[in-house]
Symmetry: C2
Subunit: 349 residues, 2 copies
Amino acid sequence: MSDRENGQTTQPRATMQDVARAAGVSLKSVSRVINAEPHVSQKLLDKVQAAIHELRYVPDTAARSLAGQRHFMLGVLLDNPSPHYTMRLVAGAYEACRQHRYTLQFDNIYAAEGPGHQAERIEQILHSSRLDGMILTPPTSDVPELLDSLERKGLPYVRIAPGQDTERSARVTVDDRDAVRQVADYFWERGHRRFGLVRGLWSHPSSRIRRDAFVERLRSHSPDVSIIEADGDYTFEGGLRAGEELLSARRPATAVFASNDDGAAGVMTAAMRLGLKVPHDVSVIGFDDSWVAKSVWPSLTTVRQPLEEMGHAAAQMLISRALGGHHGTFANRHFEHRFIERGTVRTIA
Amino acid sequence: MSDRENGQTTQPRATMQDVARAAGVSLKSVSRVINAEPHVSQKLLDKVQAAIHELRYVPDTAARSLAGQRHFMLGVLLDNPSPHYTMRLVAGAYEACRQHRYTLQFDNIYAAEGPGHQAERIEQILHSSRLDGMILTPPTSDVPELLDSLERKGLPYVRIAPGQDTERSARVTVDDRDAVRQVADYFWERGHRRFGLVRGLWSHPSSRIRRDAFVERLRSHSPDVSIIEADGDYTFEGGLRAGEELLSARRPATAVFASNDDGAAGVMTAAMRLGLKVPHDVSVIGFDDSWVAKSVWPSLTTVRQPLEEMGHAAAQMLISRALGGHHGTFANRHFEHRFIERGTVRTIA
DNA sequence: TTGTAGGCGTTATCAC
DNA sequence: GTGATAACGCCTACAA
């Protein structure tokens, strides 16, 4: 292993003492400057900042954490993550942390192991790590036991794209409903009248939301519009099965909305296997603009959420709160999705 | 935001003091037990462990970090990650950390911002965080400036799947060369004689390794075998372009090896656009067994690496070292890939 | 085998 | 406005 003992000894990091000495002020004054406390004269400020810069001083997180209430560390909670979705969220959160010299701690919880395990794991995490806040990524945003634990512990948290019980806490949201309405209208305006819907994992709230919005919107255009629904589970295989069902019906759909991109890719494959061409014979729209959207041909028309920004916002909310932000009221940052037109929808003459 | 002030105050965590008092021993004795130091009588051990259990005592990481040499925190360095690959690695590393009550810190570096930025960022990270070790995931495993910084700082690190200068440090490896030979043989044994190769991102060492192994192995079967090469860049689009080039040649390949799955998906799409059926008209093999491998039809024959285990091993190496492991010699954990037969290769009569 | 004293680098309290 | 001084929770000496 690369060895710490090799080579010349790294010179030790400067401490607050060093800075205080160099600037000719007291420890507490340096502390004040670092924490941007009020009541510091300009002159003192300058001296201290010069010394800090000179010595390349960086406060020691461990010491701060031990002595104070803040820990300069945020956690992200992931569950068996859809890698693309999650990584974009995390990348955004990481940037926010970096800007404020926070550390981002990675935490993984496997829903697959059952709810008991999840509760147990979060308790362990909360009991053994010192965090200033926790970011819950879907689908952890919608696990009540998790929220209970967090609140019992008194740890601030932000939920990303929660599907239910939204008002309960701080959150970062997108309007799935509105996005799906846009999808429905897009199909409708291009002349489609027979629709297929691939539902997501039914246990997940987002799944119902997307389904309901799609159906309601189309009904608002014409109450007895034809909509065939099939169960997907947010996977390619699920989409494949659902697609075969939808497209081999007696009067098959000409336009299929899948609740996410993986499902849409499955539908496209189903079409191909049935000898149907996309978009000539059947149009498809997905959701997420994930990796696969550009890994199919034609590339997939879909809806993109600003995940990096959402992750960034979540971390930012937690950090400003730790910096002494607004208490008592639940923040809510809302983001706009973007409809991405690509090649999988055809206009019917 | 979910409010810390709400609800009853959480009772403070037990400290070593509390444990010592409860067990009727000194502070140091508790410390000894926690750190599994020698010279503790069974009786004392029992008493202390009982008290620890009773009080649900967990040592405070910040305090330990401040007072001692260990920080119970590992970092993973990612670069603009291929989400699927990276997340599997990270999930493995996380598990190892969890088992030993270590924390996993997330760090992201963007090669896209240029090598200068990378060096600067790692310096910042190293200067401001207290880590026991760092895990380098590809492609960061092969950035010499990063290794230099790490060594200058004296921070132990493990490289995952390094492509060059392998002996320089501790590492977790797979035998790409061997895997690719297996791919070549698999094609060969099924009667293929005209080959296509989609190269990866040429700046990345793995790319050359895979290319050379493929070509050499086929030449060993027959020195003047036909191999058409085309540049991909590890992306779907790159594979698409390369595929069109390979498959529209005068005597097109019947078997194409793409240096990763995304590229292979591109090749499959290229085939489809040219009216070629996979695997009937052209066989394809990818590399990685990433998400897309199962999101195409037929699903992709490919090579799978045990990424979770590799991540686990990397973290484990760092942790045992921090626990006082072997110094001075570079560890090397090797893992076996697995060839995954699926539906994209046909046997030629 | 066990215990005591001192210090790690910062924040909090309370004087000046 | 500024500065002593005491925590914070643990580990490292060293002593018993």
